[in-house]
Symmetry: C2
Subunit: 275 residues, 2 copies
């Protein structure tokens, strides 16, 4: 089989998915990436399953127009609520961020007590619980889930290590600390930015970065490009040109990507929901 | 002139506008109200002017389909970025939340030092500064503006008076307290929910509720219904049926409104942007 030089598509409700893209680029430096952030409708985490599915299908349809060979759903909410419908509809492989992290958590725990933190929608979907339970079978793990809706705005404000952030993190993680978990899934792509505060609060707990796990799975699916490539090749699209994007993108990715291109994806599906 | 029995239209990016609706209902109990919350695309506060204008025009077009006699833009971001275009385009009066609050602040201040807090987009628009300056002329007031982007998520979490909320409010209001303001505009419809914490931090400061000011202006425009009406008449529409809506609505309004009707407004304007 020859090397497939089509790009890898990655989408997220906004900028959080850039923490996933960061690992994808690190692990597959020879690949071309198309990133779409649905910044006109961000966040997905407090929207209904119907709406999240529609938005995810529009994002995927846009990426398909760029002839991608693989789609990474770099958003926990969309992975929880829309992965299955995307995998059924699309002729290319689709990877979410939940199953890879759930598998890693099951491998990492030694006392079978696992914590999961995420947005309200991700936690309400119970997607991590189902996935962790499935991977752990026949063992039955104890799973403790907490929605942490204030973490995303704190990260987007750049309040990564302020007294307020510590207080809120202490509050959210209290039930997890009391449950004596030894492994915690950061079930939202923004949360790795809070890893320092969380690690200090839970020093004996393995933190699982869902983006890193998904990037590992993506690498296993893609035949490596030949030779060594060091030039980073990312085409960046957003549905709204928000003032904070460039700064936040640099903070999330660890390098600068310049101004993204703005696109409209509201009409990428027809009235019947077809591309 | 006979009493005009058409309803009053009110829209917001989500639920914040319900603090405005609350005052409208209190001041005009005989009126019918159509409320639209664009919960599928909330929040507007971190989106670009173009996108906010498009969304506001779609909201207004939807309300116009219900033959409203007056539109209240119960959202500071939309008032800051889209009021003028709505007033130019629509054949009915359109009231925003900024000018009424700016006028009230100018009347309330005695030392001509006024603070304004709001979302990032509202503060960046400088809409309050322009409006306050215009009303205060020929006096030149000193205006101190601070964006408080964490307040909306705190309110939506119901963290109205927690230690973290106090800490964040202390941080945000520090420059305002140091500036010796005697009047502060709560330039976001969510912020009246934090009035207790803010009043404790700034005991010598008059807090201006933009929704109450806008409701006063709306009443002045509408010929009162005859007789006494005590039945509250609100038709509630949302663009996404989010799980938290009913609870939050009750908390914001002070009474229960039941389940809202979900509508789609993405296609309410044609390709040329016409209704």
């Amino acid at each position: 089989m020859n090397y497939d030089n089509r790009p890898i598509g990655v989408f997220d409700s906004g900028i959080g998915g850039l923490t996933v893209l960061k690992h994808l680029v690190r692990l597959m430096p020879g690949e071309r990436f198309i990133y779409l952030g649905d910044t006109a409708r961000v966040p997905y985490g407090n929207k209904s399953p119907d709406t999240v599915q529609l938005y995810a299908r529009q994002c995927a349809a846009f990426l398909r127009q760029h002839d991608v060979k693989l789609i990474v759903v770099a958003c926990n909410t969309a992975s929880a609520l829309a992965l299955q419908v995307l995998q059924q509809e699309l002729p290319v492989p689709v990877i979410g961020v939940i199953e890879p992290a759930a598998r890693k958590a099951v491998q990492a725990t030694t006392n079978t007590r696992i914590g999961v933190i995420g947005t309200r929608a991700t936690i309400a979907s119970k997607a991590y619980e189902h996935s962790i339970t499935a991977y752990a079978a026949p063992t039955t793990p104890s799973i403790y889930s907490v929605a942490c809706p204030l973490f995303v705005p704190l990260v987007e404000e750049g309040w990564l290590d302020t007294p307020a952030t510590r207080l809120i993190a202490e509050e959210y993680t209290r039930p997890l600390r009391e449950s004596n978990i030894d492994t915690m899934v950061l079930g939202c792509t923004h949360y790795p930015m809070l890893a320092k505060v969380l690690a200090e609060l839970m020093p004996n707990c393995t933190l699982i970065d869902c983006g890193e796990c998904a990037a590992n799975d993506a690498r296993a699916l893609v035949k490596p490009a030949e030779g060594t490539h060091t030039q980073i090749n990312i085409s960046m699209f957003v549905t709204d040109q928000t003032p904070a994007f460039t700064d936040l993108a640099e903070r999330f990715l660890g390098f600068s990507v310049g101004q993204p291109e703005r696109v409209s994806i509201d009409h990428v599906l027809d009235d019947k929901g077809q591309p």
